[in-house]
Symmetry: D2
């Protein structure tokens, strides 16, 4: 498995009338978290795109337990539990940094697209870097 902790602060723009983060915003945090995880591994998404590939989201899911508040620091824990083949699944856990409380959990599933925009298997370079960072649980 591969695991990564991303930290961010909740901004005013994220907060709705109820005083908590608007529900779709967690997906933006997921994006930032997985992009930083991949970059840290040596898989900058900008390089990935520059080489002609894409990794669009084909499924997204989130469960909300409590709402993150304005100015709170949150941790988005990302996990890859299965080595990608044609698809990459990333799981997320959003925690309050101070409270340690679980705020939300979710996942995204991504497809690999080649230079022609067609679904393909994970590129070898991608897989070998994933293997390099893989830790048995």
């Amino acid at each position: 498995m591969i695991t990564y902790n991303f930290k961010t602060r909740i901004r005013y723009r994220d907060i709705d009338k109820m005083g908590i983060v608007y529900y779709s915003r967690y997906y933006e945090f997921f994006e930032a978290a997985r992009t930083d995880m991949l970059r840290e591994m040596g898989l900058a998404y900008s390089d990935f795109e520059a080489s002609g590939y894409a990794l669009p989201v084909i499924e997204s899911h989130c469960k909300y337990f409590t709402g993150a508040k304005f100015d709170e620091m949150i941790i988005v824990k990302c996990d890859i539990f299965e080595k990608p083949k044609a698809r990459l699944k990333i799981e997320y856990e959003v925690l309050g940094e101070k409270s340690g409380e679980i705020i939300a959990t979710g996942h995204t599933v991504h497809a690999f697209l080649n230079k022609k925009g067609r679904a393909c298997r994970a590129p070898k370079h991608f897989l070998s870097i994933v293997s390099l960072h893989w830790e048995d649980k």
Copy 2:
């Protein structure tokens, strides 16, 4: 069941680098669609909130089949298949108005919160209006 079609146009702000709608934006379309559906039924969410209740999202899900494009008109079909008890589930289908093609499908699950912010069953007024509009499939 209750069904409702919401129509909206894709804006530049919704489109990402790939030239298609950014994945979290569909949840914003879902919000607009369900709010209009409830208002049409006589359940304006602003009234619902004014009377002390809330209906926060506790789960959201979306599958993406193809990406909506800039300036395209989309239809978000909302369905309630089960009368709400402690929770309300709404299902969505996003279609290209012109193409008729399915762009995405998803659902949201909502909890009812009373004036004290505690989970409660669907208020009677809410249920009776749902019953009023209910159609057997």
Copy 3:
């Protein structure tokens, strides 16, 4: 001058903790308003882009008088007071549909970019359509 009224409803996603529209969201309403104005004139921005041109914003400004509320209908009045040369300036007035009250005013300034991404004068086709719709005040 050219004038156009765009109508939209305020959504939950637009509202912040203070219960009013978050300040940057008005610029999204401006985008929707000017895009619809241009499309109505026969200048669909998607066609404009497809023909290789772009019309990026080089300046934006907004003054906020009162805050639009959740579920409120607003009117965004767009005005072009000067025929474009190298730049196009659009002015906006946001009004509550019911109250008639001015919520915000603003403007955006746009540059014309040609197929090479370089600043250019307004294309002839663009200018002739503007002239077609021009009304002396």
Copy 4:
């Protein structure tokens, strides 16, 4: 004057079809930058709100020179050049961290609102902290 540098990374959600940051997103970066500046000074906006005050934006402005790209690190330099009275003006300069190039400049003007939601002068506590950090240019 008071000056502060805020650093952030451009995310996929910020990027539009042209491959650059969507114009309204800079205002979100401005919000993050000024909130962090104030917190660093000892003026956490969450405390400010908790004490009954608010500091809504009454004017916003931005000029765009070039577009920030996906995954780029930007610096948002915030400056307060005048001690606030009834209003607080904050100026911004957005720079590419690597390029050093100016991407955008802008400002926001804020009003002070008291517990009754009425415009008021800057609270004494606010002013004394501003004075504490003030540096003559």
